[in-house]
């Protein structure tokens, strides 16, 4: 199979969803254009932004950092060490090695030092690991961005992640989450930093192909905590449909973005989603007197005391 763009070189990536196949060089052009289009569509980033890129050591976040640097954005990487024995250490090594190769040093938050490693936080709070992880990560994304004067936080969520999340939200008719699902969450007057997902147009297959062809050494093992994640069930269901009808996943998510403000319940659900005040303990924006992260830390502290 020849590259459909240059017509000369053998293709390395075939993309039935785009009726296309590309050689490595033409695929890089295609990929960068998809990111640029995704950024432009919703004005995710401006040239003068200081971008905090949240990197896990996996393919999506390292590819995001790579492509944003290549597009000329001012970026720094933030790695949150989740305190998962073995996996976190190996992921951190990948992030540090990647950054060093680009003359950078990531900002590192160590949850063991912060007193909230994910396995213990989940066990003590009796919540799902991925839910606790989400709460803690969002807290530090915002806190580090605010402390160090970043104008925007960027995460490596891709099309598959967003389509799976959309399917889950629709299956449960979760109006609040549907209202907040978007590649751009604007900053708020009470201290939440803008959050963007510049890879929202690109599939996992495309980010993995880009990372591999660019020689990015990302961690390929899965987080051991995510084995039972519900998002994997939604991804499996969508990939079954995608294999039979290429391009469906993209139409599903982009259609939602086009029509998301139309259904009345979504618009109404989103009305009160801004934190009204600040956390009495740490000062972060919060719906409640004490924010979710500080409540979690307090639970862990009490459990430790009782041991």
């Amino acid at each position: 199979m020849k590259c459909k763009r240059c017509g000369k070189t053998p293709a390395a990536v075939d993309l039935p969803s785009h009726h296309a196949a590309f050689c490595p060089d033409c695929f890089f052009v295609f990929f960068r254009r998809q990111v640029e289009d995704g950024i432009r569509r919703f004005s995710l980033l401006a040239p003068d932004d200081r971008v905090l890129v949240c990197v896990s050591g996996g393919k999506d976040s390292l590819v995001l950092w790579d492509v944003l640097m290549e597009l000329g954005y001012r970026t720094e990487g933030l790695y949150i060490d989740l305190g998962i024995r073995g996996y976190s250490d190996r992921s951190k090594e990948k992030v540090i090695a990647y950054a060093a190769g680009r003359g950078k040093e990531p900002i590192v938050v160590d949850l063991r030092a912060e007193g909230a490693p994910i396995p213990e936080a989940a066990r003590i709070s009796r919540k799902e690991e991925c839910a606790v992880c989400g709460t803690v990560k969002r807290y530090f994304f915002n806190r580090i961005a605010a402390q160090r004067a970043f104008t925007v936080v960027a995460t490596g969520h891709n099309l598959d992640d967003e389509a799976a999340r959309l399917l889950g939200n629709l299956l449960h008719w979760d109006g609040d989450h549907l209202a907040r699902q978007h590649p751009l969450l604007p900053e708020t007057s009470d201290g939440l930093v803008r959050k963007v997902k510049p890879l929202w147009r690109l599939s996992e297959l495309e980010t993995a192909s880009y990372g591999f062809l660019k020689g990015i050494d990302f961690v390929t093992e899965e987080c051991p905590m995510s084995v039972d994640a519900t998002s994997l069930v939604y991804k499996e269901a969508l990939s079954l449909i995608e294999d039979a009808m290429p391009g469906t996943r993209s139409k599903f998510y982009s259609g939602f973005l086009r029509f998301r403000n139309v259904p009345e319940f979504i618009a109404k659900s989103g009305e009160d989603d801004r934190p009204a005040g600040t956390c009495g303990v740490c000062g972060a924006p919060s719906y409640t007197e004490t924010c979710g992260y500080c409540r979690l830390k307090e639970k862990i502290r009490k459990a430790m005391e009782q041991r």
Binding site: M1, A11, A12, V13, D14, A21, P24, G58, K59, D60, C130, C133, D160, D161, S203, E204, L205, T207, A208, S209, F212, L213, T220, E221, E222, C223, M225, S226, V227, A229, S231, L232, K235, S239, L240, E242, D243, P246
Partner: protein
């Protein structure tokens, strides 16, 4: 024989070559849109033919959480 490694599952199989990537994925019970297939530093398209004596890796691209 073609050596097919699936490192994330610590699994390895052998299939008789020559064989297309798409057919090897079917042998291994893997859905094509959920993986990339590599041979050394090359990324293989699903229609590519693999010969006896070659080694390929099947890498899952699906991340959870």
């Amino acid at each position: 024989m073609i050596r097919v490694r699936i490192p994330q599952k610590n699994k390895e199989i052998e299939v008789r070559g020559p064989r297309r990537v798409l057919d090897i994925l079917a042998d291994a019970g893997v859905r094509p849109t959920t993986v990339i297939v590599t041979r050394g530093k090359d990324l293989l398209t699903k229609d590519q033919r693999v010969e006896d004596g070659e080694t390929i890796d099947i890498l899952s691209v699906v991340s959870g959480g």
